[in-house]
């Protein structure tokens, strides 16, 4: 059972993610893109996945019953090779609806002090 009191809890990643040209190129090629200088618009999901999962697990999320409900990216700029990204994930909302639980986690991706991108991930835990 997810901890309903987890709303507002936050966790900063313990290490930085260094963006490489190879990881941008691999992602771009997997989705059929040839532009490989700017990261593709949804590239940063691969950076936020780990830190946001850790925060959700610490608060009791049961992955066996989870489906990805929705996703949003607010990109102030694309990421580039050499960027060193730190993630801060925050549980923004939780509600129980018709036997399901709906959790939204926001992840801020910073390069130094600069807020480069923000993501919102909403997960549905089926009852």
């Amino acid at each position: 059972m997810f901890n309903p009191d987890a709303v507002g809890k936050s966790r900063k990643s313990s290490s930085t993610f260094k963006v490489t040209q190879e990881s941008i190129s691999n992602f771009a090629h997997a989705i059929g893109e040839s532009e490989v200088i700017n990261s593709p618009v949804t590239y940063s999901i691969m950076i936020s996945l780990g830190p946001s999962q850790t925060l959700l697990e610490e608060n009791g999320l049961d992955w066996t019953r989870v489906v990805h409900g929705d996703q949003k990216f607010q990109n102030n700029r694309p990421l580039h090779a050499g960027d060193e990204v730190t993630c801060t994930s925050t549980i923004e909302s939780y509600r129980a609806v018709a036997g399901n639980e709906i959790v939204t986690v926001r992840t801020d991706l910073r390069c130094g002090e600069e807020l480069a991108q923000v993501q919102w991930t909403t997960l549905v835990v089926r009852g």
Binding site: T42, I45, M46, Q74
Partner: protein, 142 residues
């Protein structure tokens, strides 16, 4: 996309329907995306596991479908740097049987225009079924 006199002319007008594009994905695409995107959930690669959790077959990562929508918008925008926001709901799975290229068709309509940016409403369909819901993107015109 609209080309006039060899140069790319982008129509920025409320209600304008941007030309559809078709993307093909198969099992190999799912493996490549799993490796590149770091999501190794076996329901996107292993038929037996997908069926054991009640799915008809292997399904594509929702984030792969959303990434294709991102590519579509990027192409229209001219650069990933101009795409400042994208969001969607994952409403229906994209089923990817073995040995088949699955076609995903993406189109968009301009639903808001300002001096600084446009908002697009994106339609993503597979076999005539909408697979993303409320898919929207913001493209900067600056």
């Amino acid at each position: 996309m609209d080309y006039i006199g060899g140069a790319r002319m982008r129509v920025v007008e409320l209600g304008y329907q941007i030309s559809a594009e078709t993307y093909k994905i198969n099992r190999a695409t799912l493996v490549e995306y799993a490796n590149a995107g770091g999501d190794q959930n076996p329901i996107h690669q292993d038929e037996a596991i997908a069926k054991s959790v009640g799915l008809p077959d292997v399904i594509a990562h929702g984030m792969l479908t959303m990434a294709l929508a991102g590519s579509y918008v990027t192409k229209w925008a001219g650069s990933a740097a101009a795409v400042t926001e994208i969001s969607s709901r994952f409403t229906k799975p994209v089923v990817v049987p073995a040995g088949v290229d699955v076609e995903i068709t993406i189109s968009a309509v301009i639903e808001e225009v300002s001096a600084r940016q446009v908002r697009l409403e994106i339609t993503v369909e597979c076999a005539g079924v909408k697979v993303l819901g409320m898919a929207k993107a913001t493209v900067s015109l600056l």
